[in-house]
Symmetry: C2
């Protein structure tokens, strides 16, 4: 709607964290909160919190009392689009894909998983949490017929690029990619990568540094 103020990807990543915290605080019966309080709880600076909140929340906080939690929660949820539901499909129903088909939390984010797709004949026709697993050749039809925008891609790395091509030609607009490779898709296709190997690389590196420090 508004979307005038520009927001960085880093900032976007922080809003869900604020939201979770605010909801937990609200559940404790607290009705207002200040930027410094949030900063202390989430271990960041109050300036960052204030800047982030200024972008999503039209009504500013008041000195001494801070911001109304309910309003703030609503503002963040609206900004993140949690109130409009988007349909998605899971492509590749391995362990991770199945976990996503079963995961209840997506509805909280306005994400609705419709169905799964897999190559494996033994999986096809089965239902996971009420959602059917279809064969890959049914995918294109379902995407265009139901106007599905988002694909959750949980196929093995070596299949990911072929599958993503199929998704794109079927009219998918965004791919949430869990394969640890670069997807070679047209630039107007939105790709968001969740690379566990990358995340683990960061963890291992920090851990090694810590251990080295302890041993010296």
């Amino acid at each position: 709607m508004e979307e005038i103020k520009s927001v960085s990807m880093k900032q976007l990543e922080r809003y869900p964290v604020y939201l979770k915290y605010l909801i937990s605080i609200k559940d404790q019966g607290i009705t207002s909160i200040s930027a410094p309080m949030i900063a202390k709880a989430l271990d960041c600076t109050e300036e960052q919190v204030r800047k982030d909140l200024q972008i999503v929340s039209p009504d500013s906080g008041k000195p001494k009392s801070g911001r109304d939690i309910k309003t703030l929660i609503n503002d963040i949820e609206n900004f993140l689009g949690y109130n409009d539901v988007s349909d998605a499909i899971v492509v590749g129903v391995g362990h991770l894909g199945e976990a996503f088909m079963r995961y209840k939390g997506f509805s909280e984010f306005g994400l609705n998983v419709l169905a799964g797709f897999d190559l494996d004949e033994t999986k096809i026709g089965k239902k996971v949490d009420g959602k059917e697993i279809f064969s890959m050749d049914k995918m294109s039809n379902l995407i265009s017929r139901l106007k599905v925008n988002i694909a959750i891609l949980t196929v093995p790395s070596d299949a990911a690029n072929a599958v993503s091509k199929l998704l794109v030609s079927s009219g998918i607009k965004a791919i949430w990619n869990f394969a640890p490779i670069h997807l070679d898709v047209p630039e107007d296709i939105v790709v968001e990568n969740v690379n566990l190997a990358s995340s683990l690389a960061v963890l291992s590196h920090k851990l090694n540094k810590k251990i080295l420090k302890e041993n010296k």
Copy 2:
């Protein structure tokens, strides 16, 4: 070992992507590769590739021919510590936790999942992919006895902070946190967050911008 050159977290996240690509290229029988080639394939700039590779690889590339792929793969794997195995435990054997216990790919990264832990009585004693699920009160003992450094935390958000306290007091050094909240742990504990809500927020935002652009 060396670890002299400083590397940013962003860079660290890129190495696993380079590695996957290099391995796939090597499997095609190619023996050497240049920074511009990698950049083109992975859709980034050659300067970035070169800078990243300079950090992990002692021997520089040669003009015209580039770098030896095998050496490069080895250098990255060593840098990321894929050749030394670290033990880990999965805490919270829900859908995601179970997927991690079953995931074969971790061994590739030098990560070895020993066991799982859960509160749910019905899960305790069961085995997932040969690894046993223990009750939470066995956790502390196992961590200290086997000197486990890494915990993969896949419990619900509202339990995450309590569990992380237990992990810390048991001597865990690093937590790979999949709960979408900030863990309140001592600052010498390594925490690496994988927040799917954050990732989805970025995806949704990009998708909304794309759709708005298309409709105007």
